[in-house]
């Protein structure tokens, strides 16, 4: 092979690589790029009208956002999502953080097995969890209650807290605790005054993961929740299945904004925690 053909070949290879990557990134973000502008469509269509493409201001409108506010179902769904999400997050974060303290301890017996059990809710298909939870919680009278959903969502969210906090604790300097102990601090004080402030970013981002998991969970709600427990994803589900209206796109856009906010918060917390742990 002459150097000239090698050179051409490499250039072509390079172009193919860049082109393929560009397509892959377009595939990743295309759905979001489409949802956001279409939520401002003045017509009840799911496609760009000619007016929208001409950037005619009359073809764009906020009517679908107005219909979210006017429809009290969405308001109630938001309240339900918040109640269930916040309560499940508090439970999962408290129990998960305490468990992570044990798991991060080198003296922990059967560490791998414990970790395997605690992370299993994250890996198990949600439909299986939903079926099991429906059977079991029905017997306890917890089906179609907020408490039932809170408990189920807390179980689904706890693994995220365990993973995040264990990872944060791996970078925690244990000599700080010994120093605090030598200065006479009792175990609970040591945890509250020294360890917790330092691992707080990890705890907080674990909590965010747990909240996001609950806030996006629909299968358990479908099987076990009643009319009184309709959450945002449940409301979207029936919107997509039954009467698909562009209001769904407006809700979707708001959820994308929420996702971006969560993403940047988590990244900010990650940076903070790596600064404090080194």
């Amino acid at each position: 092979m002459t150097t000239a053909t090698t050179y051409v070949g490499r250039r072509l290879g390079r172009y193919a690589y860049v082109g393929f990557c560009a397509c892959a990134f377009v595939f990743l973000v295309a759905p979001i790029l489409v949802i956001v502008p279409l939520s401002f469509n003045a017509e009840p269509y799911f496609t760009f009208t000619e007016g929208m493409l001409r950037l005619d201001p009359d073809a764009w409108s906020l009517r679908w956002y107005r219909s979210i506010v006017e429809d009290e179902q969405w308001g109630r769904a938001l309240v339900n999502s918040m109640i269930i999400g916040v309560a499940a997050t508090l439970l999962a974060t408290t129990l998960g953080t305490v468990a992570a303290l044990g798991l991060a301890n080198s003296a922990m017996p059967a560490r791998r097995l414990a970790m395997g059990i605690l992370i299993s809710p994250m890996i198990t298909p949600v439909i299986i969890v939903a079926v099991g939870v429906f059977f079991f919680y029905s017997k306890l009278g917890l089906a179609q209650t907020h408490l039932g959903l809170i408990l189920a969502h807390a179980a689904l969210g706890a693994p995220f807290v365990v993973i995040t906090v264990t990872a944060t604790l791996a970078g925690f300097d244990q000599t700080l605790m010994r120093a605090a102990a030598s200065l006479g601090a009792r175990p609970l004080t040591r945890f509250r005054r020294v360890q917790l402030p330092l691992i707080a970013p990890g705890v907080f981002s674990g909590g965010l993961f747990a909240f996001a998991a609950s806030f996006d969970e629909v299968v358990v709600v479908l099987l076990m929740g009643g009319l009184e427990q309709r959450t945002i994803p449940r409301q979207m589900w029936s919107g997509i299945r039954e009467q698909i209206s562009p209001t769904i796109l407006a809700v979707a856009t708001l959820l994308i904004i929420f996702a971006v906010l969560v993403l940047f918060t988590v990244e900010w917390l990650r940076r903070r925690s790596s600064e404090t742990s080194t």
Binding site: C21, L28, I32, F46, T47, V98, G132, V133, F160, V218
Partner: protein, 400 residues
């Protein structure tokens, strides 16, 4: 808090969560497994009938006393509104019996108990000939068995023949094994697609100029954090008949307006949307592995005369294998249990085993079968989870 050895203290901290997961998560899975082999509903509704039937030898029809007992118990079940549940279960053993069971107490009338007919057998047979058939009584007896392998047999397309042997269902009724195979095949396909698309993405993020790489990483993380339902909705908007992609194809003249491509509510929809949803789970493990490969390895390969292709194949690719394994296993585990996306964009042909579980839970109300189908899926996932732990290690799982 300070009491005990460090081992006990460490274990003690994990106990609250283990107990919580045990009650809220493991116990429900236990109930599910029980449900798949145990159903005492008929045994509770028709206890005396089943007690009398226990003496029946299984040929011809049972005694007059059995007819009298079942008539009385069916009447009571009707009053207690449990008749429908018994009828459904008996009907599952032999279809057609639901209406027989439901109409029998109605035709007998409320006063049949006070003013009994001279022969219960004749009265019942007069209502429906089915009461004179051996198969009907066998079905009642079988439905009364609280422990049954029936659901599991059913879930793998087997049935118990009248003579007690186990054999394959008639070909037209074999649906679950093909569905498991389809789920397996779709999951493998989605995993492969995620790898083919995700590998260059991860590579681009790691090797792009630094001012670009953060932006590219954000492009992966935004979909990762975005609600699953939002992303699935987006694919409906993009791929439906009057959707954005078809509009573009028509505008470009590639496709005729009256001949738009069906890209959603079928297997294509399931494939595209699932690949998109699971892609970040492939990219993130690959990204963290690729980031740890020193650039000088490729430089060294080049300086030793390797072409870029050779250097990639012999030096770079082998070092990324841990990431390939971790990402592929994770995507595969998540894919075989997928429910939401196929349910919304899969149409008829793009349904997976999870959708069948939901169908039996919500529509056919055959909860025992739903539990058996779920139990088999659960077993597969546990197997894969153990494999993941062996290959990657659960404690090395990272988020975001």
């Amino acid at each position: 808090m300070a009491a005990g050895s460090p081992r006990i203290r460490a274990a003690g901290l994990t106990i609250p969560l283990i107990a919580f997961i045990g009650v809220t998560f493991i116990a429900p899975l236990g109930t599910l497994l029980t449900r798949s082999v145990y159903d005492a509903e008929v045994a509770e509704i028709l206890p005396e009938t089943l007690a009398v039937l226990a003496d029946w030898d299984g040929s011809g029809t049972p005694s007059e006393a059995t007819y009298a007992t079942i008539a009385r118990e069916l009447l009571r079940a009707r009053d207690e509104r449990t008749l429908g549940r018994a009828a459904t279960r008996i009907n599952r053993i032999q279809s057609g019996l639901r209406s027989v069971v439901v109409k029998t107490p109605r035709r007998l009338g409320r006063d049949a108990d006070a003013d009994p007919p001279s022969s219960w057998r004749e009265a019942l047979v007069a209502i429906d000939d089915a009461w004179a058939e051996t198969a009907t009584w066998r079905a009642v007896r079988e439905a009364g068995q609280p422990f049954t392998p029936r659901h599991f047999l059913n879930a793998v397309d087997l049935e118990t023949r009248p003579d007690g042997s186990i054999g394959a269902m008639p070909e037209t009724r074999r649906i679950y094994v093909p569905l498991y195979l389809r789920t397996l095949w779709v999951s493998l396909g989605v995993t492969a697609l995620c790898l083919v698309i995700g590998y260059p993405i991860a590579h681009a993020i790691v090797h792009a100029p630094s001012r670009w790489s953060t932006t590219l990483l954000v492009l992966v993380l935004v979909p990762f954090w975005t609600s699953l339902l939002v992303r699935t909705t987006a694919w409906i908007v993009l791929l439906q008949n009057q959707g954005v992609v078809n509009d573009i194809l028509v505008a470009l003249g590639i496709v005729a307006d009256n001949d738009r491509i069906a890209m959603i509510y079928n297997m294509t929809g399931t494939f595209v949307a699932m690949t998109h949803v699971l892609l970040p789970f492939m990219v993130l493990p690959l990204y963290s592995v690729m980031r740890s490969i020193p650039a000088r390895h490729m430089d060294a390969a080049a300086s030793l005369g390797a072409t870029p292709m050779q250097a990639f194949r012999r030096v770079y690719w082998p070092q990324t294998l841990p990431g390939v394994g971790a990402g592929s296993l994770l995507v595969f585990i998540l894919a075989i249990g997928y429910y939401i996306t196929p349910a919304l964009v899969g149409g008829q042909s793009g349904q997976l085993i999870s959708n069948m579980i939901a169908y039996h839970m919500q529509t056919s109300l055959n909860w025992g079968l739903a539990a058996a189908l779920a139990a088999i899926l659960l077993l597969a996932v546990i197997g894969l989870y153990v494999l993941y732990d062996r290959v990657v290690g659960i404690d090395r799982m990272r988020l975001g």
